[in-house]
Amino acid sequence: MWYRFVEETNEWNKGMNIHLPNDILLNSDNKDEMIDGWKWYDEPPQDFLDWVEARELEDMKMMLKLDKDIE
C-alpha cells in the first residue's frame, strides 16, 4: 500500500490507488517508485502505526475532556 506523511498537517495518507493531479496513477504496478512523497510499503511503517495510535489516544482524551467539562 502507498503511504505518505504530510508534514504541514501532521497526517498520514494511505491507499492502494492514488490518482495525482498530474494524471499519474500510483498502484501496485509502479510500487518501486517514490513520487511526490508517496512510498509503497508491504507492511504499514512503524511511524504510521505510531501516528494512528497517537491519534486514537488524542481522540479518547478529547472525549474524556468533553465528558468532564459538561458534568
Partner: protein, 406 residues
Amino acid sequence: MSDKYFKAIDPNEWIRNPQWVQIPLDNGLDNKMYGVYAVFEDEYNVASMLVFGVSDIDWGDGNTETGILSPSSTNYYNVYDYATIPGPILVHRNGGNYKTVLVEVTSDNSSYQSYFQMDDKPPFDTGPSHWLDVVFRVNGTSTDSSSANSYSFSFGGGTRYCPLLERISAKYPISDYGFSRGLRNCFSLSKLDVPSDMFNYITVGSDNIFTSVGALSTARLVFPSINNSNLVGLFSMARNSARCEFGDLNLPGLVDITSLNIHCNLYKVGNVTLPDATEINYLFGGTVGAALIEGIGIIDAPNATRIDYALRGCKMTDVEFTDLSNCTIANNLFGNSAGNVKRLITPNLTVSLDARENNLDATAINDWFTSLGTAAGTQTVNVSDNPGSATCDTTIATAKGWIVIT
C-alpha cells in the same frame, strides 16, 4: 377492509396511562400548573418544588399551602402517606406499586414571572422526584422573565431529577429565564405537548439542557424546532439522549459549539444552522459504539473552520453542508469509524477529507467531487472501500488539484 375496525398502535406514540388521576380540561381561564405525582408503596414519598410567582399549592392529599407571597423563592414540600391516598393501585414498569395524586399550583405572575423547579431537594431526602405528567397552563403571554405574565421551569436543575416524567404539556413557551439543565435526566420523557416556539427564548445559564432525555422513553420524543439566538456559550445540548427527534436547529451566536449532541443514539435532527460557529468538531460525535443517527438535515455553518470528528461514528446516510469554504480541518469528519454515507456534499471544501469505508456509489462520489472547491495545495480525498471507488470519475477532483485515493 376499512381501517375503522382495526387501528394499529403506533409504537412511537405516547399513550397516557388511563388510570392516572385526570387533569382538568382547559377552561381557558386557568393560570395553573397541574402535576400528576406517583406515590409509591413502601417508600418515603415527598414532592418538593422551589417556586416563586405562585400563590397556592394543593398537594392533592388534603394538604395545601395558601397565601404564598411572591416573589419569594421558596422550597415547598409535602410528604405523602401511601395508605391514605385513594384511587387504584398501579404497578410501575419498575415493579413498584403506586397511586397517583393531582398537584395543583396556582400561579400569580401578574407582577413577576412564575417559576417552578420541579426537582428541588426537600429536607432529609435526595431520592428521585416522581412526577409523571405535568401540564403548565400558566399565563405565558410574555417571554421576558423580568416581566409579568411570563413563566419558566426546570426538571433537572436540582439534585433529584425526574426520571419517571413521561409528558410535559405547556400552553405557552417558556421565558428567557436560564434553562440550566432544564430537562436533564428526564429519562422517561416521551411526549412534549408544547408550542412550536417552546424553546426559542431560553437562555443557557449552564449546559446539558436536554441531557439524557428519552433514554428510557416509551415512545419517540419529538422536540419542536429551536430558533434561538440566546444560547451563546452552549456547550452540550442533548448528551446521551435517545429516541429523540429534533426539529430544525437555528442557533445564531454560537461560536465554539463543540459537542452539541454527543453520545446520542437513535435520533434525528432537522436542518442545522450555525451561522457564527467556527469550531464544530465533535458536534454530533458519538463515543460508545456508533451513534445511530437516523438523519441530520443540511448543516449550514459557513464560518466553520473545523469539522473534524463532527460526525464521529454517526451511522447516517446523507451528509450535506451548504458551504465549507472557510474550513481548514476536515479530514476526520467521520472519526475513525466506518460510516454508512450514501450521499456526501461539501461545497467549496479545499482541504483533505477522508470518506473511505462508506456506502458511496460512483454517482455519489462524482457528485461529491463536483461539490469540492479547488484544493488548497496538496490535499487528499479518500473514497477507498466504497461501492463506487473503482468506477468513479477521479478526474473531476484531480482537475481541481486534488489527490484522489480509491
